[in-house]
C-alpha cells in the first residue's frame, strides 16, 4: 500500500540549530546522565550555562551523539572506545576529502622519454 504525504519539512541539523538537553535525551533515547557522561568524555561540548539544565548542543552534535551511541551499542564498546572511534572516523573522513581535492588538482600524467 502506498501512501503519499506532501511537503514535509524537517529540521536541518547544522551548527546553527540549537538543541536543549531534554531534546537531546529524547532524540537519542538516552538519559540526562548518559548525556552528562558523553560531555564528560569530551564527546559533546555544550554551549549555554554551567549546569546541565542550561546546556545547549548544536545540530552537528546530535549526529555525533547518535553515531557514538550506535557504535557503542553495535560494537559493544565503552564510551571512551566509542569516542576514540568517532574521532578517528572523523579524521579519516576529513583526510579522504583532502585526498579527493588534491587528486582533482593534479594534472594528467604525461609520460616523456
Amino acid at each position: 500500500m502506498a501512501q503519499h504525504e506532501t511537503g514535509i519539512e524537517g529540521v536541518l541539523l547544522d551548527e546553527q540549530t540549537r538543541v536543549s538537553i531534554t531534546e537531546m535525551t529524547r532524540v537519542c533515547g538516552v538519559s540526562v546522565e548518559q548525556v552528562r557522561l558523553m560531555v564528560g568524555e569530551g564527546l559533546l561540548q555544550p554551549g549555554g550555562g554551567a549546569g546541565p539544565d542550561n546546556w545547549s548542543f548544536s545540530g552537528v552534535e546530535v549526529r555525533r551523539a547518535r553515531r557514538a551511541l550506535r557504535l557503542q551499542h553495535d560494537l559493544e564498546l565503552n564510551l571512551a572506545g566509542a569516542a576514540l572511534a568517532l574521532e578517528l572516523l572523523e579524521e579519516v573522513e576529513q583526510l579522504r576529502r583532502r585526498v579527493r581535492a588534491l587528486e582533482q588538482q593534479h594534472g594528467v600524467i604525461c609520460e616523456v622519454d
Partner: protein, 319 residues
C-alpha cells in the same frame, strides 16, 4: 525465498565453536558497521552478519537452523519444511528487531520481519516497559550541488515496517515529499520527527536524511566553501584583467590583479553555499597557453622568448 548460509556469512565451519563464532562476528561487525565502512553494500552486509550471529550464537536457534540439514547452498530456493508449525518454537521479537531480519529468518524463527532501510534503534529506547518508541530510520539523499545551493524538493520512497490491525508487522512503501533547505552541506542530516518506524504504545521513531553531494564537473565543495579552478591566458595573468567566472549563483566578474601566477587563489566572499554565514568561493588561477600549432602562433612565442631571454622560472631549483 532464498536459503541463507549463516556459516558462510560469518566465514566459519559448521562445527565452529561459540568462541570462533563470536570472534568472526565481532570482526565482521567492525568491518561492515555502516558508521565505519565505506563499502557500498556495508548496510546489507552488516544486517546479514547480525542475522547470522543472532542465530548461531544461540544454541537453540542454531540447533533449529542446523536441523534444516547441510545440503543447502546460499541462494537456493527455500520453502519452510512442512509441518513446521507444530514442533517449532516461536521467538518473540521487538518490531525493530524483526524489521532487521530477512524473510528466511522469519520463516524459521517467527516474527514477520522484512528488510526496511537501515533501521537503527537508539539503545536507550529499548525496554521501557510496554510502550515502545518506534525505530529511527536513516536514509541517504544524493543531491547535486545546484540543489544544495538553491534548495529543492525530493520525493522519497521508503520501505517502513508497520503494524496492521491485527498487530502483525508489515512492510509498507511510503512516499514522502521532503523539502531540502538551501545551503545543506556534505554529511549533514535533516531530522523528520515522527516519520520513522511506528511505535507500539509509544512515539514513532524519527527519520534522518543524510545529505550526500554528487561530484560536480567544475566545482568542489568543502563545507560551505566552493572551490573552482579558473583557466586564464598568460596575458590576463601578466597584465591583469576582468574575466567572467561561473559561480553557483550565476556568472560574476572577477578582477585578476596584474602579475598573477598559476595556483594563486582569489576569494569571492559569500559566493559559496548560503547559510547564516554563507561560504566563500575560492578561485584558483591556472594559466593556460594558447596552442602553438601554426607558424604565426609559434613566431609570437619566439618573440616572447627573445624578449624574456633572461627569465629563468627554475632559478629556485638551482638549475
Amino acid at each position: 525465498m532464498e536459503y541463507k548460509d549463516y556459516y558462510k556469512i560469518l566465514g566459519v565451519a559448521r562445527d565452529a565453536s561459540a568462541d570462533e563464532i563470536k570472534r568472526a562476528y565481532r570482526k565482521l561487525a567492525r568491518k561492515y558497521h555502516p558508521d565505519v565502512s565505506k563499502e557500498p553494500d556495508a548496510e546489507t552486509r552488516f544486517k546479514e552478519v547480525n542475522e547470522a550471529n543472532e542465530v548461531l550464537k544461540d544454541p537453540d536457534k542454531r540447533a533449529q537452523y542446523d536441523a534444516l540439514g547441510s545440503g543447502w547452498h546460499a541462494g537456493d530456493e527455500f520453502r519452510p519444511p512442512p509441518g513446521s508449525g507444530g514442533g517449532r518454537r516461536e521467538y518473540e521479537f521487538s518490531p525493530e528487531e524483526a524489521a532487521r531480519f530477512s524473510d528466511f529468518f522469519a520463516s524459521i524463527f517467527g516474527g514477520a520481519g522484512r528488510g526496511a532501510g537501515f533501521g537503527d534503534v537508539p539503545p536507550g529506547a529499548r525496554d521501557r516497559g510496554f510502550a515502545r518508541r518506534g525505530a529511527d530510520q536513516t536514509a541517504r539523499l544524493r543531491i547535486s550541488l545546484e540543489d544544495a545551493y538553491h534548495g529543492s524538493s525530493r520525493q522519497l520512497s521508503l520501505e517502513m515496517p508497520e503494524f496492521d490491525k491485527d498487530g502483525r508487522l508489515q512492510t509498507r512503501t511510503r512516499t514522502l515529499n521532503v523539502r531540502i533547505p538551501a545551503g545543506v552541506t556534505e554529511g549533514q542530516q535533516i531530522r523528520l520527527a515522527g516519520q520513522g518506524g511506528p511505535g507500539m504504545g509509544g512515539d514513532n521513531g524519527d527519520l534522518y536524511l543524510e545529505i550526500e553531494l554528487m561530484p560536480h564537473p567544475i566545482y568542489r565543495s568543502e563545507g560551505r566553501n566552493i572551490h573552482l579552478r579558473l583557466p586564464i591566458t598568460p596575458w590576463e595573468a601578466a597584465l591583469g584583467a576582468t574575466v567572467p567566472v561561473p559561480t553557483l549563483g550565476g556568472t560574476v566578474s572577477l578582477k585578476i590583479p596584474p602579475n598573477s601566477q598559476s595556483n594563486q587563489r582569489l576569494r569571492l566572499r559569500g559566493r559559496g553555499l548560503p547559510g547564516k554565514t554563507p561560504g566563500d568561493a575560492f578561485i584558483e588561477l591556472e594559466i593556460v597557453n594558447p596552442p602553438a600549432d601554426a607558424d604565426a602562433a609559434r613566431s609570437a612565442f619566439e618573440e616572447l622568448s627573445k624578449h624574456f631571454a633572461g627569465f629563468n622560472p627554475r632559478a629556485r631549483l638551482g638549475v
